[in-house]
Subunit: 430 residues, 2 copies
């Protein structure tokens, strides 16, 4: 059998430990598939003394993470440190400069520095791979870069954050409110102590920007993603959505339009018979639409040590097989610069929810604002009274331009009848 | 840009025409992704004069299909002729022997001769690829061979035949009977004039045997697939299954067990909240379960010129990129010979349906037979009378060994109370 592929591994958290376990438990199978053994030879992490439940004594320990790049005899560096900049980025640059292939699960770093790193890898003739950065164990990077490569893709969308999906589907199943379910998720370890990257949609936006670039041949444009998280979804939204035939999911959606690249993270109402409506708990799912293949759906576990490590090792097997591919499906120089598309002209249905004082005239005020903004109402539910005496008004509009809905909300912004900000959620078309 | 990848294309039916259209319409995009243009230079088909709606004058026409293998300047031969043997196999052997890479959508040929061809391709250092042979446009071959390569896979199953799924889901939606829906599907071109390969499960079995080999590292074992088609599913089965919380799908399932390789095509009752229950019409879906990645689901269009051509061209892009990979995820010599596992010891729930004479004692007879065979009944529905005076008895058993259910049916085989053969369908576990 050929020479082993020799790995340096930076970061020994849950995913790093998972990579070691995958390579141990499936060692012989992986060698048969890869055509040669894959061996970790050096590791680095912050704390050498911590017990990680795996035997590290067989690996060289390197205190300075960035120095892994220069270890003798290393073919490939695996970065599981995290963070858009700092040690992860330093390691990435040094590894590629030193002629190592580079594998990472670091979506933030790719969203911000992916093109620089991919360009350097191209110039150096090494692999730059990141299957684990999007949707955990689901081979969606490969699915887009290779599986759907014959297609012009028009749209890509999906459920990209397991924490948000766990919270939303738990709220849905148990009828509970956001804050309560979040607190429970934190206690169970399903949500971070500081959950904002997840629940405010930033993590999903990192992933979406990567998928967009891959799908549309455009340069990474994380700054062009319009982001709304799930913090303001209340139990009543989920109940009203259900009454109207929808479920609520945090959806990342990207489209190549004539006006440019549209990228949005947003809590969408998803029709109950749409595949995404059946994605529960911490699962992820991605849909891609191509001009010949039609609609492809990839679904699976989007996080956790096992699935994420599975994706990291899939990249290593590709590298062991000598299959490097272009990191963003084509050379970096061939990616096009796309302006961010203005969403105002997009046509679709919307869900609007108001918490209002339960007194005469409030409904007339809302109805007048929507009429004056040319927003046509498909259905409306008013329910009162809530424990504090307020009432809920939930509206689904007919399909119309998003800017009309924004105008209706602007007309109501100073209304003393409304308790708090209204909630706007778009509705995913079939 | 580098030299084009030069293709000879055999077979100009709907898929062949689709490949030409993909390469025409997405020409520039494909060249950017592949790193070089992909050009068809020669074609062959039975009838040169037929109008196929594409301009063939720019290609060399070769009358003798097998002679495509020896055309000067060809890198890769694409075979879309079909048939397990005959011209397709001759072309495959000659192409690989002549040092060409080889791409095919021919599941029958792979199921029967895949190892011979993969071995020859390995020896010759050329690619042998067949993404389009299973599940049309869904990149499931790549998903297993590469995306899930880090995992020991324990089970793979899915909806592999679009014609059967179209018929079953149309029966489900419209409450109509099999023969009527089949006739309509034939009239619409969704089913072949001779539909037996599809509806009797042979096509799905070809595909399943390929997935098994890829997933489990076992040698292709088409003869080990136990096949039941959908011919005997009646409208009442679908209605009773629905009343019990299930939908009926033709499922191909393969498992690596300690007793060997289990492979079965069978109309399964699928719980209504299982992802496969939501796969409608001619869609295909494949689920793979790995020891680290957990459960992966791939879904999309499993047939048709666009999706199938998309998969063929994805293979060509891989080849243009120089990424050949091992055809069955590892060298042919590394695949293991697995005995076929006996299904009798498998434990699961089953659905049994009897059409009986509506007279006293019939139910007691069925109940006695199940009791004597140690089959425990979870639920039973009796409905009469049908137009011909008979009644339906539908049973769902508790989980138990399959051989017990077989014994219960054997005990009833001579019963004069039964009108026709009983129907047995297994129930897919969550």
């Amino acid at each position: 059998m050929a020479e082993p592929l020799r790995i340096a591994l930076a970061g020994l958290g849950t995913v790093g430990g998972g990579v070691i376990r995958v390579l141990d438990e499936n060692r012989e199978l992986i060698a048969r598939r890869a055509g040669r053994p894959i061996e970790i030879v050096a590791v680095s992490a912050r704390d050498r003394s911590k017990d990680r439940g795996v035997d590290l004594s067989r690996f060289a320990w390197v205190d300075d993470t960035a120095a892994l790049a220069d270890q003798d005899g290393i073919d490939t560096v695996v970065e599981l440190v995290g963070g858009a900049d700092g040690p992860a980025l330093t390691l990435a640059r040094r590894s590629i400069a030193a002629g190592r292939s580079f594998v990472t699960a670091n979506k933030a770093m790719i969203a911000h520095h992916g093109l620089e790193l991919a360009g350097a890898a191209e110039a150096g003739g090494v692999a730059f791979k990141y299957e684990a950065a999007v949707a955990g164990g689901i081979p969606v990077i490969k699915g887009l870069r290779e599986g759907a490569a014959a297609n012009q893709l028009s749209r890509i969308y999906g459920i990209l954050n397991g924490t948000c999906n766990y919270i939303l589907t738990t709220m849905e199943r148990e009828g509970r409110d956001f804050a309560e379910v979040l607190a429970e998720a934190q206690a169970l370890g399903y949500a971070e102590a500081d959950p904002s990257f997840d629940i405010d949609g930033v993590d999903a936006a990192h992933k979406l920007s990567i998928l967009s670039s891959l799908a549309f041949g455009s340069r990474l444009a994380f700054d062009g993603v319009v982001i709304t998280g799930i913090r303001h979804v209340i139990a009543a939204d989920i109940a009203e959505a259900a009454a109207l035939g929808y479920r609520i999911r945090l959806v990342g959606i990207a489209e190549a339009t004539e006006q440019g690249l549209f990228q949005r993270i947003h809590p969408y109402l998803v029709p109950v018979d749409h595949p995404l409506a059946h994605v529960s708990g911490s699962l992820n799912a991605v849909v891609a639409e191509g001009n010949f293949v039609g609609r492809l759906l990839f679904q699976g576990r989007g996080a956790g040590d096992g699935p994420t490590a599975s994706a990291v090792v899939a990249d290593l097997i590709d590298i062991a097989r000598g299959e490097y591919g272009p990191a963003f499906a084509m050379p970096v120089a061939a990616l096009s610069e796309q302006p961010a598309a203005d969403a105002g002209g997009r046509v679709g249905k919307a869900y609007l929810r108001f918490i209002v004082q339960d007194r005469p005239g409030v409904l007339a005020e809302i109805a007048a604002a929507t009429r004056d903004a040319n927003v046509s109402i498909e259905s409306l539910i008013q329910r009162g009274k809530r424990p504090d005496g307020s009432a809920i008004v939930a509206i689904v509009t007919h399909a119309g331009p998003e800017r009309a809905v924004a105008e209706a909300l602007a007309r109501l912004s100073d209304s003393p009848s409304l308790t708090g900000a209204p909630m706007l959620m778009h509705i995913l078309e079939e």
